[in-house]
C-alpha cells in the first residue's frame, strides 16, 4: 500500500527520466563513479541513479556534469519528446 502511494507520487512528480551518456563519457575518461561524484560534490548513489536513468539531474548539476566532460548539456543529456 505504502509502496503504491510512493510509486504514484513519484510518477506524478517526475516519472519520465532523461537518457544520458554519463557512463559512456566517464568510461572514456577512465574515471570511477566515486571520482565523478567527488568532483560534482554529490554522492556516488546519485551518479549511479543518473547512469541508470532513475533520476533527473537538476539544471545546475546537469550543467556541472556537461562542463566536466567538456560537452554541452544536449550532448550529455538526451531529451526524447513523448510520441
Amino acid at each position: 500500500m505504502l509502496s503504491y502511494i510512493c510509486k504514484v507520487n513519484f510518477t506524478i512528480t517526475g516519472g519520465v527520466y532523461l537518457k544520458n551518456r554519463i557512463r559512456e563519457l566517464r568510461k572514456e575518461l577512465m574515471i570511477t563513479q566515486d571520482e565523478l561524484a567527488s568532483a560534482m560534490f554529490v554522492t556516488r548513489q546519485t551518479i549511479i541513479s543518473l547512469e541508470n536513468e532513475k533520476y533527473n539531474a537538476s539544471l545546475q548539476l546537469a550543467y556541472k556534469i556537461s562542463k566536466y566532460f567538456g560537452k554541452s548539456i544536449e550532448e550529455v543529456f538526451i531529451f526524447e519528446e513523448e510520441q
Binding site: 505504502l2 502511494i5 510512493c6 507520487n9 513519484f10 512528480t13 561524484a37 567527488s38 560534490f41 554529490v42 554522492t43 548513489q45 546519485t46 541513479s49 533520476y55 539531474a57 537538476s58 545546475q60 548539476l61
Partner: protein, 138 residues
C-alpha cells in the same frame, strides 16, 4: 568552512537541548510531579542533545568525514528523496486523520474527533500559508 560553521551552530543547539532537558527533569523531580511525562520528555531531550554533541565531535574531528557529511546533506538526490517522503507522509497523515475523525464520531468520541479536526484545520492553514509564501518567493 561554511559547513563547519553550520555544524558549530548545531552543537550550540544540542547544548541548549541538554540544558533544557536537564532543567525540565530537575524541575519535575523538584516539584514532585507524579506524572512521569515531563521528566521523561526532559530525559529524552538531554539524551538527544548528548547524541548530537557526540556526533559533532565525531564528524568534525576528521576533514574527510566532514566533507562526506557535507556531500551527504547537500546531495540534491537525497534532498529530493526527503522532500518526496515528506510529501507522501503528509498525504497519509491527512487521510488517516480524516478516517480517525469519521470513526471516532461514529463511536461517539466527539471530543477527540473535535480535537483532531482542529489539528487538521491548523495543518491545512499552515500548508496554505507556506504555499503562498514559497510561491511569492520563487
Amino acid at each position: 568552512m561554511e559547513f563547519r560553521r553550520k555544524m558549530k551552530t548545531r552543537l550550540y543547539v544540542a547544548i541548549i537541548f541538554v540544558a533544557l532537558g536537564v532543567m525540565m527533569t530537575a524541575g519535575a523531580i523538584g516539584a514532585k510531579i507524579e506524572n512521569g511525562t515531563v521528566s521523561s520528555f526532559g530525559i529524552g531531550m538531554a539524551v538527544y542533545g548528548l547524541a548530537r554533541i557526540k556526533q559533532y565531535f565525531y564528524i568534525t574531528s576528521n576533514e574527510d568525514r566532514l566533507k562526506k557529511q557535507e556531500i551527504m546533506e547537500k546531495d540534491e538526490r537525497n534532498i529530493s528523496i526527503a522532500n518526496k517522503a515528506r510529501s507522501v507522509t503528509f498525504t497519509i497523515f491527512i487521510a488517516l486523520s480524516y478516517l480517525a475523525v469519521v470513526i471516532l464520531s461514529l463511536f461517539n468520541f466527539h471530543r477527540a474527533a473535535e480535537w483532531i479536526t482542529y489539528s487538521l484545520l491548523a495543518f491545512i492553514v499552515i500548508y496554505l500559508v507556506t504555499y503562498v509564501i514559497i510561491r511569492k518567493r520563487s
